[in-house]
Amino acid sequence: MALPKQIKKHLPLIPKKFGFQRREELLEYIQEDGTYLPKGIGHADMDRGMLDFVRDELKTVVDGKVVPPVDLIITTQNWAQFTQTWKFEDLNGNPNPPFITTVRNPDVKYGSTPSLQYTIPNRKQFYYAKVPTWDGQRKGVDVYKIPQPVPVDITYNVKIMCNRMRELNEFNKNVLQMFSSRQAYTFIKGHYIPVVLQNVSDESVLELDKRKYYIQNYEFLMMGFLMDEDEFEVSPGITRTLQMYELSVRTKNRKVDMYPPNPNEFPLDIQFLNSNTEISELFSYTVDLSLNETDNVDSFSVYINDDYVGDDLTKIQINTNDVVKFTVVRNDNSKDAVIYTTAKLV
């Protein structure tokens, strides 16, 4: 007779945690017996997790005897099978039913876990934790970074082989109770990883002229992820910051250089090339020309607007739009003559 619901069958000695405390507890699982970083998960870890799940969570007892699971993913190394099946082999070395075996599909596909899909590209590392450090003199932190885990889908076929329907029923009951909410969780290296029941099929051999036995296949999908510890990164954080400012002590503003340079005075060379002895120039600005020196010039005359001004002048005042004409007498007619002046804008 069932007990009334008010009566508790088990009294929890350790109270369950909720909310923030529960999240902290989960984090402690991840970091247990190790560093502050999560433990890496590979294919073998997930396979081991699935085997543990079958052995512990789907444990099936019929008539007081546990249906033994083959606690191994059988691979190409044939001899390994014996290490698991010798306990229930017959005299011919063949495993005797009932037993449960787990077969992994060798192909591991990119995962369908929605929370991990294509959100951080190019294996970029992201911040995971800051861990305080103390080197005896200064406090600091180490910054722990990890890349986003890679989601994977692994398909397992868990098969029960037996001779009795009641063994099938018991295992079926265990599976359906465990997966009554469609999925259950394995606990691998501190991480909860979901397992989804995909399909149930029957492979029983019930032919008339053959040995009859039941085989039922339960197809599970593990929605796991890969975390490679080699990709984890620990780098020292900034422990001390020094800020420097550079200030000018001048009290007056310095004159800013004009750019491009625009001087009031500039050299103006009047060149008489080849046999040329006369040059006219229209000045579009008001300027004073000061004679500096001459080269190959015996004498020169200056005309402004065709009005004679003088010979060998040392200073010439020119107004805007004046046409100034220079005529020169050379010392040596075979060479060029040059009058070097300085023009000062007025």
Binding site: R48, L51, I73, T76, W79, A80, T83, L91, N92, G93
Partner: protein, 171 residues
């Protein structure tokens, strides 16, 4: 195994244990003396082999073996098959399986038990040995073919598949 021993009395009107032993000894003389096909058994030492707890695998050269034992058997090697390696488009001449039959007497005389996954070496020429892995451990052997006219079984027939040198290359 049952402790009760029941003598085999079938065919005893014209065939007895002595006849059976005589026939077997003549057959063994022919196989061992005339044919002299020699194989080497590399039995996996399950106790000393350190394997992982997920796949039961060991790394390359990680399997521990008992001392190799030579034994005689009737050997048949099947023809190789020229085929693609899976769907890889790599052509490979897949060597044929090794099928060998051993007298029960031979196994008990050499104190050996050939099990699933054990390795077999077979010298195909003086300088080259090929290795095979047992995939059919020949149990049970009480079918008509393996008995002497239905009297008692007297030999085992094993099937072994060729292995690559990456898996096993002698010890």
């Amino acid at each position: 195994m049952s402790q009760r021993k029941v003598p085999i009395t079938r065919l005893n009107k014209f065939f007895s244990e002595e006849d059976f032993d005589l026939e077997i000894s003549m057959g063994q003389e022919w196989l061992n003396g005339d044919m002299n096909f020699t194989l080497v058994l590399y039995a996996v030492d399950q106790q000393r082999t350190i394997k992982d707890d997920v796949y039961g695998e060991v790394s390359s050269n990680g399997i521990q073996f008992k001392a190799p034992v030579e034994f005689r058997a009737m050997v048949r090697i099947e023809e190789p098959q020229n085929a693609f390696l899976g769907s890889s488009r790599i052509v490979q001449n897949e060597p044929g399986n090794l099928i060998f039959s051993v007298y029960e007497n031979e196994l008990s005389k050499m104190s050996i038990d050939i099990k699933l996954g054990d390795y077999i070496g077979y010298w195909i020429n003086p300088s080259e040995v090929k290795y095979y892995s047992v995939v059919n451990a020949a149990q049970p052997n009480y079918d008509n073919k393996h008995t002497y006219g239905g009297y008692k079984s007297f030999y085992f027939t094993y099937t072994a598949t060729p292995v690559s040198t990456d898996e096993f290359n002698g010890i």
